[in-house]
């Protein structure tokens, strides 16, 4: 909202500086965003009016605020009231017929249009506006069209009351009907666009067709042109939500609809009388007969109960009750002190936003200034609330610290990406994508079902900038559509390439590998005090190197396997498509799933002072045998086997093709005594027999 201060001064006489005025307005909640100068060097304030303050969208409305701030009166309008013929209704809305009127009014929807006035003029001279009028509109950024249209815009800006002028001769049968649209009915509006209407739209129509979209925009047919000689001028109060629905649906916002949506003063007549005076003066037109009005159920000013002590309790600080009265009266509220602590406060007709006691509190505090309120501290009356996420957040903080120490950077990406980015990695996700109805573009059109595409894109960006040693992780929600609905779970995902962590400048060839990533997952799980298993996926994970991938899983007590994620090397074909010239490793862990697993109970474990014995076993096995899976099998062979480690893996010239040698170290021991050499040999024999006979593995 632009407020030319020269215009403001027509309504109120004041003497403080422009800057001081701007500050005072901002303090009462009418934020002055900018201070501008017009073509003549006069100050114009640019205000950001919040959506509740429809009343402040006019020079008069702001003058009222200035009047309250400075405690100076508004200058009374010079306009004389015009003789008014009011049609009174009984129960049902109906017709307005008066012999002296040029148009007949018919109102069938008083809820959508509680009040409608019309004045008719003849001998109208449609021409360019006088200079003063053109300048006023220029100051507020409205293009001058002709004197009639300009006067309606002038009244809109001055009083906040939108008006509409019809070419009276284009109204068939001189009949104006205020009704809702018939579904499918069409109207061609002033901007030369055709709109198809639905039954909740309110129109101003004649007997044949809609002439205007009520409160939003007039029709092209009945537009004021230089040939117009008779006009019908409308002044109405339309239901805000009706206007808003239609304006939103059709995507039209006009100065008129903007004000009706925010509610105009229900005392519309003063602005109307001023408009009538201007049309008579500026366009030298003759008012025909009397002004007609349909107003079946006159508005009543709201009365709200106000308790001064309740205000003190809700706001805090100390107040004088006389101060409340002064603020209310400065703002046009009328106070009746019916009981000592329960006042009746009558709300002025222009303040549609004030409807509860709390709204009155706001009027007091914004006028008195928030500086008046002391700063106190709320008393703690209860311990922290149940259901909070403190433990989860602390786990997140810990895992992030761990990854940072492993030289990862945390990345944050938009939650929406393009479907192609997901499908490049995993085309099986197509049916699980959640689409944004109104995205900012195709590249932001689906919610990420995995964090990996965004992370890979960031890695790719760095590779293109010659940074091939980079590691990123992200811990955020991902979104998956299932048959049961939309699932939102946190994932911890990472991508990495280049030299492994903790390498120094002489170890630049020590590239990261599968086992570094596997080790990271183990560290994460250990830090989170959970247990998981690494299992060979039943079906190959499509986006990972077929020979360097593993599934992260949890085996529940009922033996069901819960999938918790994957890790491995990015499939070379995808790497090629994404232009990666170095191997890329990655993992994605279902963080929500991991957090939902039972937390490891860490309590004392008795240990034995008996010495342990180490025995090594070198095994020759097929290259594709998973040597790690042997460890639990071997451990089962005898209770004296405490631990098993793999300490060497060899594959090469010295061995037959297709074979590898794996060396295991077994830690043996009993709880209560030292094992004898014989016992040790027996256990080792048992293990070797098992390997040879049950697994066909050769001992070297």
């Amino acid at each position: 909202m632009k407020l030319p201060l020269t215009w403001l001064k027509e309504f109120i006489n004041y003497s403080i500086s422009d800057e001081a005025l701007a500050k005072r307005l901002t303090d009462v909640g009418l934020e002055v965003e900018e201070v501008l100068k017009d073509s003549k060097g006069k100050t114009i304030l640019g205000l950001n009016i919040t959506p509740n303050r429809g009343d402040a969208l006019s020079v008069l409305g702001l003058a009222r605020e200035v009047s309250a701030i400075l405690e100076k009166p508004i200058q009374q309008s010079k306009t004389k009231a015009v003789k008014l013929v009011r049609k009174t209704f009984t129960a049902q809305p109906g017709n307005f017929k008066n012999e002296k009127v040029f148009v007949n009014l018919k109102l069938s929807h008083p809820k959508q249009c509680p009040r409608y006035m019309m004045a008719v003029f003849k001998n109208v001279k449609v021409e360019a506006s006088p200079e003063w009028l053109q300048h006023r509109l220029e100051q507020v950024g409205i293009r001058s069209i002709n004197n009639i249209v300009d006067i309606t815009n002038y009244i809109l800006m001055a009083y906040g009351q939108p008006l509409h002028a019809f070419d009276r001769q284009k109204i068939s049968n001189s009949q104006i009907i205020i009704r809702t649209a018939k579904a499918g009915e069409k109207i061609l509006t002033l901007d030369a666009k055709e709109h198809e209407l639905i039954s909740s739209d309110l129109v101003i129509a004649d007997l044949e067709k809609p002439l205007a979209l009520a409160g939003i925009m007039g029709g092209l047919d009945s537009e004021i042109t230089s040939n117009t000689s008779e006009i019908a001028l409308e002044c109405a109060w339309f239901d805000p939500s009706t206007i808003r629905k239609t304006a939103r649906r059709l995507g039209i916002q006009t100065d008129s609809s903007y004000r009706f949506e925010r509610s105009v003063d229900f005392n519309i007549q003063n602005a109307f009388f001023e408009a009538i005076r201007l049309i008579q003066e500026v366009a030298q037109a003759d008012l025909v007969g009397e002004v007609s009005e349909l107003y079946p159920k006159p508005f009543v000013q709201k009365k709200i109960k106000f308790s001064p002590t309740r205000l003190e309790r809700v706001i805090g600080g100390t107040w004088k009750h006389s101060e409340f009265k002064k603020i209310f009266s400065n703002l046009g509220f009328i106070v009746k002190e019916s009981k000592k602590d329960l006042w009746d406060v009558t709300v002025p007709s222009w303040r549609a936003d004030v409807s509860r006691e709390e709204d009155l509190f706001e009027e007091i505090v914004r006028s008195a200034g928030l500086d008046r309120i002391p700063a106190t501290f709320p008393k703690m009356t209860a311990p922290p609330m149940s259901g909070n996420v403190h433990e989860l957040l602390s786990q997140e903080e810990k895992v992030k610290e761990l990854l940072i120490s492993l030289e990862f950077h945390e990345a944050i990406h938009f939650s929406f990406i393009s479907p192609e980015e997901v499908l490049l990695i995993d085309s099986t996700l197509e049916d699980q994508l959640i689409h944004v109805t109104n995205p900012l573009g195709h590249e932001f059109s689906i919610m990420r079902p995995t964090l990996l595409p965004s992370l890979l894109k960031t890695l790719q960006y760095h590779h293109r900038h010659k940074i091939t040693r980079a590691r990123f992780f992200e811990l955020r929600n991902r979104f998956i559509k299932t048959q049961d609905g939309m699932i939102e779970r946190k994932a911890l995902s990472a991508v990495l390439s280049g030299v492994r962590a903790q390498a120094d400048c002489r170890e630049q060839n020590a590239g990261t590998d599968f086992f570094e990533v596997k080790g990271i997952i183990s560290k994460i799980v250990k830090l989170a005090q959970r247990h998981i298993q690494f299992i060979t996926p039943k079906e190959k994970i499509v986006f990972l190197h077929p020979g360097k991938q593993i599934q992260i899983a949890y085996q529940h007590e009922d033996q069901t396997i819960e999938d918790l994620g994957v890790l491995g090397e990015l499939h070379p074909e995808i790497a090629l498509k994404m232009d990666f010239k170095h191997p890329v490793y990655l993992f994605e862990l279902d963080w929500t799933g991991l957090m939902d697993l039972p937390k490891e109970n860490r309590s004392f474990v008795p240990y034995s002072d008996q010495p342990v014995v180490l025995r090594d076993l070198a095994l020759l096995m097929e290259s594709d045998r998973t040597a790690g899976d042997l460890m639990p099998l071997l451990q089962k062979q005898d209770p004296s086997i405490r631990k098993i480690k793999i300490f060497d893996v060899y594959e090469g010239e010295k061995l037959p093709i297709g074979k590898k040698s794996v060396a295991y170290s077994l830690e043996l021991g009993l709880e209560n005594r030292t094992m004898t050499e014989e016992e040790i040999n027996q256990v080792m024999q048992k293990v070797m027999n098992y390997l040879r006979n049950s697994l066909g593995i050769e001992i070297r």
Partner: protein, 365 residues
């Protein structure tokens, strides 16, 4: 072999010649046993004493023993020398170029937004706030209606919303959901305020909570990204006053930005609070003066103030939706933008940088 004392002298000089070229313990031991061993020269001389003329025997015996001592002594010295050289060599070999950088100093780091989020959470947790999270895909009910933002109120224009397509089929992703809009319509939350509504639904007062998280609005330009982060706060109890809101937010802002920071409150409007206010802090660039070095401050547009938070007393309509008795309890709510706080505190010029994840941006932060 020649006999007599000359023989001993020859032997001695031969030994002292030979020991010169001894460089290792092995060679030394070999030399030593050549001379002193059971089959060595000295033993041989001593063994052969009996065949000598008796008058030469004592002299020869004494000479041989003396030589033996000399050789032993010399071998000891040589051994010491060899061992010292060996130790020195080992130390020399083990030495490193100490000017090279330490291992594992490649940089990693938390995203600056996470750093701010963690700091904000810590400050509020210390003064007894509990932290809650809520879904990012919300329903229209929780995002708007539960917060007193009616469908046809212009307040909805304050937040341009992304909707989620519930009936998207393949090849038909743009099916129209506008027609059948109702409260369950899924959308991307436009603020973290719906978490308030969820918490109030599940808890009775007193409530003292914050809700951090990502939010979404259809805006993408120099000063807006379509996703950003907020922290929402809510305190509900008997006798919560606007003055408590002021005290709490001043405490927070001074903890975050610095102890002597000036904070002001001015009236504003939010549909879910009444009265509503904005909290401003003194400009971080010009220290609230409006100008720096006589140049008008661009950050605060010379006002000296920066808007950082929206806040207010919880609107009774919000309590009524939650099933609370708005006559018996009061509360305050506030919301802040994590990107904005981070930009102000760390001097970041463009909000879009947060989402590019460029290491040149992330590393120094």
């Amino acid at each position: 072999m020649s006999t007599g004392v000359e023989n001993l002298a020859q032997l001695e000089s031969r030994f002292f010649d030979e020991i010169q070229s001894v460089t290792s313990e092995d060679l030394l031991n070999r030399l030593k046993s050549q001379y002193l061993g059971k089959q060595g020269f000295i033993s041989e001389i001593l063994r052969n004493l009996g065949q000598m003329p008796p008058e030469e025997r004592p002299k020869m015996g004494a000479g041989a023993n003396l030589l033996k001592k000399k050789i032993e002594e010399e071998c000891r010295t040589a051994l010491e020398k060899i061992q010292n050289l060996k130790k020195e060599k080992k130390i020399r070999e083990e030495s490193v170029d100490t000017s090279l950088p330490g291992r594992g100093l490649a940089e990693g780091g938390l995203h600056p937004l996470t750093q701010t989020l963690q700091e904000v959470q810590k400050i509020f947790k210390e003064i007894g706030f509990s932290i809650f999270e809520g879904p990012e895909i919300e329903t229209e009910y929780y995002n708007f209606e539960a917060l007193n933002i009616a469908e046809d109120h212009p307040a909805r224009d304050m937040q341009d919303t992304f909707y989620i397509n519930v009936v998207a089929h393949r090849g038909h992703p743009e099916s129209d959901t506008k027609q059948g809009r109702h409260s369950d319509l899924p959308l991307l939350r436009t603020h973290t305020s719906p978490v308030q509504a969820h918490v109030m639904k599940n808890h009775k007062p007193p409530i003292r909570m914050i809700a951090p998280g990502a939010v979404y609005r259809r805006d993408f330009d120099v000063s807006h990204t379509p996703m950003f982060h907020q922290v929402e706060g809510l305190v509900v109890d008997q006798d919560i006053q606007f003055s408590d809101l002021k005290g709490t937010l001043i405490y927070f802002l001074q903890s975050f930005f610095g102890e002597n920071l000036k904070v002001r409150f001015r009236s504003s409007y939010f549909p879910f609070t009444e009265p509503s206010a904005e909290a401003d802090i003194q400009c971080v660039i010009c220290q609230g003066k409006g100008h720096k070095n006589d140049v008008p401050c661009r950050l605060c547009k010379t006002t000296g103030w920066l808007e950082v938070m929206g806040c207010g007393m919880v609107h009774p309509g919000v309590f009524e939706k939650a099933g609370y008795d708005s006559k018996k309890i009061t509360g305050f709510a506030f919301g802040l933008g994590i990107e904005r706080l981070t930009m102000l505190k760390r001097g970041i010029p463009d909000i879009r940088l947060f989402y590019q994840n460029d290491l040149r941006f992330l590393n120094p932060l």
